[in-house]
Amino acid sequence: SYALQSFGLYFYIDGVTPKCFFEELPKDTLVVGQYTAEEYNPSIQAYNNNPQLAIQITVDETFENDHRVVNQKGSSSGRFTFTAGDSGEHRLCFWASHASSGGWFSNNPEGVKLTLDLAIGETSEIESKDKDKLADIVQRVKDLNSRLQDIRREQVFQREREAEFRDQSESTNTRVVRWTLIQLALLGVTCAWQLSHLRAFFIKQKLT
């Protein structure tokens, strides 16, 4: 976790609103995350570790009625793992709270500094764990292999998306035809109505 603090990406959250990320994940993708949270301490005007701080991580499948697949509440620093059961958009949210009181009284929008190291895909798990072992050639070939598997999974996902896209295009095409026919029919009816109405009118006015 010491290495994480120097190298990871960080952002600020307050104790009330969660910070959410949306990731489109192909089926069976492994996601590994390591996080460290620090709270702003007004007395020293800096961020430091607060043992009372608790971070809750939730993952919802937005394509499945926001079905919650992960709901993990942990201490201020830790690690979480989950595997995507189905292809689609997953929403990862991070919530900060105080462990003891269960609530939060600070409304400082930069109250909590969360450092996150998120690895999506098999390869990255190796990267984030054993950077030293990468020097070994065998390990490197394994790493390349895992990356290939990631690429393969993404391709399968792309095929599914493309099928959806084709369905959408076809439905649009059908819609064009349907509405054009409706409009033509309406045009014909209106024309017939105009002529018959005017004819009746002229007969009534004894002009025809």
Binding site: F7, L9, A135, E154
Partner: protein, 214 residues
């Protein structure tokens, strides 16, 4: 005698390049209208390379404002209404770098921004763990592995690009579908209104006192 040492040095150099720790985080964030969101990363060593990639996946006209600020509020990159960007810059000063996105130009469109921030920190030279393997043995294998890794990175990048394009196409088709419906309804209403108007105006011409004059 010179050649093996030069070869050995190249191997060491290429190894160190390959094993330098790169901290890369790829995330997709949903920017609400008029929202400004920043992500931060620290560059420890002067001269470390920072790679910043972003692509707007969906929303509005698929563009976003971005600003990359270095330590001492020095603006490194600044762009407005960009669809995607891929930059690599050298961190001249160690410190906190902020990557900010802003959706000020939209009043109701929320944008999904896919971004990746990678900071290449201090390169650590690692010798291969196996003793007794000569540099020549390793060199061709190393090179192939390095090339493979580079090509896989290219494929991954291409896949990301295709995903972004596919999202845009999807959004275009959906918008076409809704537009067809809306415009058809408007056209039908206008047609009916105009025909009624025509009929009643013609009637008006032939009615009453003007009968026989037209």
């Amino acid at each position: 005698m010179r050649l093996p040492t030069i070869l050995g040095a190249t191997i060491l150099a290429s190894l160190s390049l390959f094993t330098s720790p790169v901290a890369a985080t790829a995330l997709t964030y949903k920017l609400a209208p008029n929202e400004r969101q920043c992500f931060y990363s620290t560059a420890d060593k002067k001269g470390s390379k920072v790679a910043f990639y972003f692509a707007v996946q969906s929303g509005g006209s698929f563009d976003v404002d971005y600003k990359v600020t270095g330590p001492n509020d020095k603006i490194i990159l600044d762009g407005s209404k960009e669809r995607q960007g891929d930059f690599v810059f050298t961190a001249n000063e160690p410190g906190e770098y902020s990557f900010c996105f802003s959706n000020d130009m939209s009043t109701f469109a929320e944008k999904m921004v896919d971004f990746e921030i990678a900071v290449e920190n201090e390169a650590r030279a690692e010798l291969p763990s196996k003793q007794g393997t000569s540099p020549e043995h390793l060199s061709s294998l190393e090179e192939s592995l390095f090339k493979l890794s580079g090509q896989l990175s290219t494929i991954s990048r291409n896949q990301k690009y295709f995903r972004t394009r596919e999202n845009r196409n999807f959004s275009t088709v959906r918008s076409t579908e809704s537009r067809i419906f809306n415009f058809s309804v408007i056209e039908s209403l206008m047609m009916v209104t105009m025909s009624c108007l025509q009929v009643f105006i013609v009637r008006f011409f032939f009615q009453g006192a003007r009968k026989g004059y037209v």
